[in-house]
């Protein structure tokens, strides 16, 4: 490794498996915020996202030996976080989503104005009424800015299948946001 060069994910994974567990902190630092927004929009709450990201990193540590491509740790980690988000939504289905959406939108009230905050709050509430599959494709495309091709690769699915989910999501969001658009 060159002096000052960032160690590769694969090198860190192998070092952790060899007993240097403190080096796992490098991976956590590197990726903790990358999918925090995805988790927050999927779960409707920054607090829930924090718990999900933390749990996903702990679970990834426990299962690190099963990471088949250590150099693509982040892709593997994303799938663990995704499963955690889906499981969390199933578990907390009965909880009122309003408070969660409020907590997501609250951070923007100071710098985005009341109107922006209200639009965001309304959309987040509407997103929570979608199925997790529909919400996920909307978040990845319109929040994370990925193309259909990139999403298909990440989720190992087809573009037509993603478009079908997305187009159903558009219709449901229109229904939910009838009074806001």
């Amino acid at each position: 490794m060159r002096p000052g060069a960032e160690p590769k994910d694969g090198d860190i994974v192998r070092a952790v498996l060899a007993g240097e567990r403190e080096r796992y902190a490098v991976l956590v630092e590197r990726y903790r915020d990358r999918y925090a927004r995805y988790a927050a929009r999927m779960l409707g709450s920054a607090d829930a996202a924090e718990d999900a990201v933390q749990d996903a990193f702990v679970r990834a540590f426990d299962q690190l030996a099963q990471c088949k491509e250590p150099d693509n740790f982040v892709g593997w980690f994303f799938l663990i976080l995704r499963n955690r988000c889906f499981a969390e939504r199933r578990r907390s289905r009965a909880e009122a989503p309003l408070e969660a959406a409020d907590s997501v939108a609250a951070a923007d009230r100071t710098d985005g104005g009341a109107e922006t905050a209200e639009r965001r709050r309304a959309l987040q509430l509407a997103l929570m009424e979608l199925t997790p599959d529909q919400r996920e494709v909307f978040v990845l495309k319109h929040v994370e800015g990925l193309s259909y091709g990139q999403i298909a690769e990440r989720l190992s699915t087809s573009i037509p299948s993603l478009k079908m989910r997305m187009h159903r999501a558009y219709d449901r969001l229109r229904e939910q946001l009838r009074d806001h658009t």
Partner: protein, 197 residues
């Protein structure tokens, strides 16, 4: 498609595949409504600075990741060898001696022996012998014995299994192939009999 579903062209607008100008005039209002929907998308970053500390605190009380036994065995390891010449020579000598002790030379297993009787009917011959690959074609090495007055000459030999070529030598000069065996050309104009044991 229900009354409240977006028109497919409007969905393409939301997907970024069309612009509002691409829509027919009657769909532009619906297109603008759809685009207002996207103005609520919240792309502000979410930062979780406390996660690193919380994760590492949790890991401190957990066992190390379980590495399957086969992965531990198969994991590549770096092996460094430092060779000292004054150690290497005796080590090689000991290794050679061990190889000789443990792996003694084993002679090739000899071919099994087969006893075979050669017979030639030559009533007028004064002497008959046998020359072949088994006696380096020596015309005097293997004489046959005449049996009584019938003119039958015989010799009994014990030969290793395999293929042999031979001929009878009558009266020390005339080379005669065995009439009872297949023959091959010897490359010099004569025929040699072939015996496969």
């Amino acid at each position: 498609m229900s009354e409240r579903d977006f028109h497919p062209l409007v969905k393409q607008l939301l997907d970024g595949e069309l612009t509002i100008a691409d829509l027919p005039a009657e769909l532009r209002a619906e297109g603008e409504e759809a685009l207002r929907l996207l103005t609520g998308v919240d792309r502000s970053p979410v930062e979780l600075p406390a996660v690193t500390r919380r994760v590492m605190q949790t890991l401190a009380s957990r066992p190390a990741p379980a590495v399957p036994a086969w992965k531990r065995v198969m994991r590549p390891r770096e092996i460094r060898l430092r060779i000292r010449p004054w150690v290497l020579a005796p080590a090689l000598a000991i290794a050679a001696a061990l190889i000789l002790l443990i792996w003694p030379a084993t002679p090739a297993r000899p071919a099994p022996l087969v006893t075979v009787r050669f017979v030639l009917v030559a009533p007028d011959a004064r002497e008959v012998s046998l020359a072949g690959t088994f006696n380096q074609w020596d015309a005097h090495a293997t004489p046959l014995v005449r049996s009584g007055s019938t003119g039958v000459w015989t010799a009994t030999l014990t030969l290793p299994a395999g293929q042999h070529q031979y001929a009878f030598v009558v009266d020390g000069a005339r080379w005669v192939p065995d009439p009872g065996a297949p023959a091959v050309d010897d490359g010099f104009g004569r025929r040699n009999s072939v015996l496969t044991l």
